[in-house]
């Protein structure tokens, strides 16, 4: 049966709309999500404008559509993992039931392949592996890529150290890390079941380190929580929901994509091996950066643990997992192992560029252009207007016509507060959100 593009589009759009309009994903007015792991706002109206039949290109990876699709996918994946409120379920039973409802699970399963193809399909065009890959070529390429990554500059860390407000910059990076840090190794856990020989046990050795050998205080996600607390940041899952950059979510989603789809297993191992083999020096450098920003009070056990254990995980992932898998499972598996290495290398580079651009953006309030505005272009904000962040499609100006707005662009720190007659410029690709406690009118226009 041939399904027309229109039928396909209508079907996907209807599924996305029903999912996005369900209780856990409804909008809220506050810029942060507190104390409820089931609250993950989605903007159903902006999602409805997406043409799911036209996957993002690499050039569109930093875009509002990418942000929306990545948030949607993240909710799809994480509604397959167990979250319980830290302070207990009492009072949140309804959210619990809604988040894990059979209907939402059905919708998630239906929309997932389309959303995955839309958000990450460009990897098929950008990463191509051909030829016969024996283990010597595989190891040569992996070692070269590890060497390139380890010895590359770290402009994100340099930008944090040079930032006029180092805590705001570091907080934005930590918020991106929270995507994985607070649920660390959840994607990995999806490959622990089944039966795939000695490599299954090798993967499990890495996993038990991530889980602190069953000691909660040593679990990597606990160490990350300690880091957040010491830096004055919230530790609720997805407290900084609105401040995840699209590329940061996509990198996290990638690991769910290649674990949720069992045929992605070899890509997962390739990607995981590259990260594990490059994390130790990265976390060593990150620890120095965070120490320079926060001083002696910051708890760096999370960084120190990675700087140590990932020396072992890198070796284990490459020599006890990746190479034996390539030898045992042949050329198709070997190509996918290398594909995973290349895919995470590309995604990581794009995510670094995105976070770097966000960190380097220091918006300021300026006097607005006094020229008249078409009333039809004005947007009314009240204290009851749902909060949202978005990615600017082009360089634009947010101009306040009346009242006073709050413009957020980072996970921590105070927002800017332009009043009537004032404006803030937002560069293309930058994430920002606007709210107000008083009746306010704004207009967003291209530069």
């Amino acid at each position: 049966m041939v399904v027309s593009a229109l039928q396909y589009g209508e079907s996907v759009a209807a599924t996305v709309a029903e999912f996005a309009e369900s209780e856990p994903y409804r909008p809220q007015t506050a810029p942060f999500v507190s104390g409820d792991p089931y609250r993950r706002p989605l903007d159903a109206a902006r999602l409805a404008a997406i043409d799911w039949s036209r996957p993002l290109t690499e050039e569109q990876f930093v875009s509002d559509e990418s942000l929306l699709a990545s948030r949607l996918l993240m909710n799809v994946y994480e509604s397959d993992a167990l979250f319980l409120p830290r302070d207990g379920l009492r009072g949140k039973e309804r959210g619990f039931e809604a988040f894990y409802s059979s209907r939402n699970r059905q919708l998630a399963d239906r929309l997932r392949p389309t959303a995955e193809h839309f958000a990450l399909g460009f990897l098929d065009d950008r990463v191509k592996i051909t030829g016969s890959w024996e283990s010597d070529a595989l190891v040569a390429h992996l070692e070269h890529t590890i060497d390139e990554t380890v010895n590359a500059d770290r402009p994100v860390l340099q930008a944090i150290e040079a930032a006029p407000d180092g805590r705001r910059a570091a907080g934005m990076l930590i918020a991106q890390m929270a995507l994985d840090g607070l649920t660390e190794a959840t994607a990995m856990s999806q490959n622990l079941g089944g039966a795939f020989g000695p490599e299954q046990s090798e993967l499990f050795k890495i996993f038990i380190d991530e889980f602190g050998y069953g000691v909660f205080a040593a679990k990597h996600s606990t160490l990350f929580t300690d880091l957040c607390t010491s830096a004055g940041m919230a530790t609720d899952a997805h407290h900084y929901w609105f401040f995840y950059l699209p590329t940061s979510i996509a990198v996290n989603n990638y690991f769910y994509t290649v674990t949720r789809n069992r045929t992605g297993f070899f890509r997962y191992v390739g990607a995981m091996a590259l990260l594990e083999a490059t994390f130790a020096p990265y976390f060593d450098a990150l620890a120095k950066t965070l120490r320079s920003v926060y001083g002696d009070t910051v708890d760096l056990k999370y960084c120190d643990e990675h700087a140590h254990i990932d020396q072992h995980h890198g070796r284990m992932a490459v020599h006890d997992l990746l190479v034996p898998l390539a030898r045992k499972h042949g050329p198709a598996a070997a190509r996918d192992l290398i594909r995973g290495v290349e895919e995470i290398r590309l995604l990581g580079a794009l995510a670094d560029q995105d976070v770097l651009a966000q960190l380097r953006w220091t918006p300021s309030v300026v006097k607005a252009d006094p020229s008249p505005v078409d009333p039809a272009d004005a947007v009314e904000l009240t204290a009851r207007t749902p909060f949202e962040t978005r990615v600017a499609a082009a360089d634009c100006v947010v101009r306040v016509l009346g009242g006073q707005a709050q413009l957020y662009w980072s996970a921590t720190g105070d927002p800017l507060t332009p009043a009537a007659g004032e404006a803030v410029e937002v560069p293309k690709g930058r994430l920002y959100g606007i709210r107000s406690d008083v009746d306010t009118a704004i207009v967003v226009s291209p530069v």
């Binding site: 990463v127 191509k128 592996i129 051909t130 030829g131 016969s132 040569a140 290349e342």
Partner: protein, 109 residues
């Protein structure tokens, strides 16, 4: 015994790799670049000058024909990053590294 040498080609400037006197040529199918040994298994003819007919590459010397799919499956290990092609070519121990290079040829096809 041989070893592997990493060679980076910049497309479309480079379309071949020289390893001493051995030649490997790029061959694109479905947007994917393969790096194939040019030496015909029959009498050593130049496959890079061959023509593709009915999914087979024909050697210009004696007409030996090889399935493109099989040539690609046995091709050199290649990673394609946009216009950069990274290849791991087998190099005999007796061939020094300075005899291994990305190269540009005029193909007949």
């Amino acid at each position: 015994m041989g070893r592997l040498r990493r060679v980076e080609l910049s497309l479309p400037e480079h379309n071949s790799v020289l390893v001493g006197e051995d030649l490997y040529f790029t061959f694109a199918t479905n947007g994917r670049v393969h790096l194939i040994a040019s030496r015909c298994a029959h009498r050593g003819g130049p496959l890079h000058l061959g023509e593709v007919r009915a999914d087979r590459l024909r050697c210009p010397w004696h007409g030996s024909a090889f399935k493109v799919d099989r040539l690609c499956a046995r091709a050199v290990s290649v990673v394609q990053r946009g216009s950069t092609v990274i290849a791991y070519v087998p190099v005999p121990e007796s061939t020094s590294d300075d005899l291994v290079a990305a190269h540009t040829l005029v193909f007949a096809r």
